[in-house]
Symmetry: none
């Protein structure tokens, strides 16, 4: 392919040129042009194809007042007006568009560009429909179609508590032990604890970035994210050089939800961004879990709201989460809870009444025990025989006392 | 009435005598003869009337091998065999039966006997059907039909944490502020904290005892229960002198659930008795709340299990609980943000689904309604309870139809 493929000359006014047919380059271009989750871009690319949509845009951008919409009747949800508005917001980015340069940056990071249709493209993203990403800029383990199939998103507040961080790390550990990859957002607080927990258990963990993968954000997590990269994955849907705008964090959350089999919110205050990940998961019909915490902790208030609204189920350990996300073979068996069994456990109601009615010291007659227990004397005699064999009752002449 | 009314001469062999027609005495007698919640006793009394059932029993006890069941075809769930078994377990208690003496003990405690049909008998107990108590032995404020109408059960583990006790006390305070009576079991831990919180807020609180009200159990709560008595209520369905057997605690829990508008479990380990109160509330179609706590706290594990199973909704403060329990009187009025047009206005999405799924004429089972509405059966049970109170649904045996 010619180097001129994406030579787009823009002087701010009409004068763009586009010729080319490489869908990977076109997808990379769209991941720069449209903000993540832009549904009009998704619909346009879905309708025309990624290369043709770019050609159409270059054409349309020459004169945004004369957008050619006649052949786009099938593009939803893009009315003529919305298409014109979209062209107006996309056109400014055409001038500096240079996907080749961004791919070179990715290459220097030993990264991989994945586009829809690639073997390693994760199935889960299909759920996003027109809001699916055009491309994934991936560093580290790019085999997303494999690890994402058995993965959980552990997300939560940056302003976490020691409790929340401990729970996040433990959950991550337990999930790795059960063969799950742990996906999070690479942020301070719960995200960092989740990644760390997965790394400690030598599992696969993935940080989904809101900005480009060439620079790690936040800087304070640079070391952690380098460790994630060593065995796991750091990815983004925006090209290298993209800044982590707030809107991109919110859009990034839909990606975390769509990539994984379940989303678990470990700690979140009432308006925490982690709740948006949960909302995306709900919209995608993916299971959502919330970890409860003290009702006195504001850092758990968002989790409790999710539980209260029925948007999430209560999860308290990796076993619960695996059950939520997995439903694959061995998980179900492990889900059986065991509770400690005491010496008097397993008594049926009659036996229980008898046990309570049996005196501890001075013995009582069968009749007196029957009256006290509210049981028929005959039944009491039978039960006392059984109690005696089990060491639960002792005879004292014609009288009975508790055996232990 | 003659002193001879309940002169029952028993020598262990036939020779009983019964003559009398005071239903209050007969109810008091039944509350001694049958263990709480004995469904056969409830069915028998329901079928024959409380006085006649006692006469029948005295007669039947003369020769348990010849129980006259011919006229009891309508008694459910009592087959002839089950009736004979029941007579065998009731008969041993006839010998020492002396309800007059027990009433004198109650009088000395300045207590009141309530029986079904009394003006002050609480409506909520009707939900128990054949397992309803025969009588309530009440000390303190006996106006149950008034305070129980706006009441909440706050229950939980004896082995509570400082966190749970603080939350229980705060919830009780906040509920009193909102005009609710706080009902609990008078035990150590969460129960005590709930009673104390209500007392601190100068509200009505009620301790439902597993044993007789003449002696407070546990002894260590003697001071607290005396304070409860001063402004609130201590009651039991078993007569003075009855020991607090374990089985009676479990039966007592159904009373706590039936008396109140909602049951909230504050802290409970996996096998805590407080969970049985929650299960009773579910069966009674009463709303159930659970307070979350740290997942690292075993004292919250039972609450989390309730949340996980969908048996309880997550409550974090008195406001949540009031919303759960309210829907009566002024709460309903306050809940209406806009002018009501019909009975179906102001329904939330789940309620709306349920309303639409409820048949107008021939009733449907809970499961069938749940399938139709696309809601979990447990959720449907809770909602149906609320619908019933609001007149939106009616029971037709085990089936439900629209109420209006």
């Amino acid at each position: 392919m010619a180097e001129a493929l994406f030579t787009l000359a823009s002087t701010g006014t009409p004068g763009l040129r586009f010729d080319g047919d490489d869908p990977r380059l076109a997808a990379a271009a769209w991941s720069r042009i449209a903000e993540p989750g832009d549904p009009v871009a998704g619909a346009l690319v879905g309708h025309l194809g990624v290369v043709e949509a770019l050609a159409w845009l270059v054409d349309a951008a020459r004169d945004p007042s004369q957008v050619p919409v006649a052949d786009l009747a099938g593009v939803r949800p893009a009315s003529a007006e919305r298409l014109a508005q979209a062209v107006a917001r996309w056109a400014p980015r055409l001038g500096s568009l240079d996907p080749r340069r961004e791919l070179r940056v990715l290459e220097r990071c030993e990264g991989t560009l994945l586009v829809p249709g690639d073997e390693r493209w994760p199935d889960g993203l299909a759920g996003l429909g027109a809001a699916a990403p055009f491309a994934l800029w991936v560093r580290g383990n790019a085999d997303l179609s494999t690890w994402a199939r058995r993965s959980v998103a552990l997300v939560g507040a940056r302003a976490s508590t020691a409790y929340g961080e401990r729970v996040a790390a433990n959950l991550a550990c337990g999930l790795v032990d059960r063969g799950f990859a742990v996906v999070s957002g690479g942020a301070y607080g719960i995200d960092a604890a989740a990644h760390s927990g997965a790394l400690a258990a030598e599992g696969v963990t993935c940080a989904v970035m809101a900005g480009g993968v060439d620079r790690f954000y936040p800087q304070g997590n640079d070391d952690l994210l380098r460790q994630v990269l060593a065995t796991g994955t750091v990815l983004s849907e925006v090209p290298p050089g993209s800044a982590p705008f707030r809107q991109r964090f919110l859009a990034r959350n839909r990606l975390i939800a769509a990539l994984t089999g379940a989303t678990v919110v470990v700690e979140a205050a009432h308006r925490s961004g982690a709740l948006s990940t949960a909302r995306h998961a709900v919209q995608l019909h993916r299971p959502v879990g919330a970890v409860p915490g003290p009702v006195t902790s504001m850092a758990s208030a968002g989790c409790h709201a999710l539980l209260r609204d029925g948007a999430a189920v209560c999860v308290t350990g990796a076993e619960d989460v695996a059950e939520l996300a997995g439903a694959m073979g061995d998980d179900a068996a492990a889900a059986e809870r065991s509770a400690p069994v005491g010496p008097r456990d397993g008594l049926d109601p009659d036996e229980r009444m008898l046990w309570d009615a049996l005196p501890v010291r001075s013995g009582a007659t069968t009749d007196s025990v029957a009256a006290s227990a509210g049981l028929a004397p005959r039944r009491v005699m039978t039960l006392l025989g059984s109690f005696e064999r089990r060491g639960l009752a002792r005879r004292d002449g014609a009288r009975w006392v508790r055996g232990s």
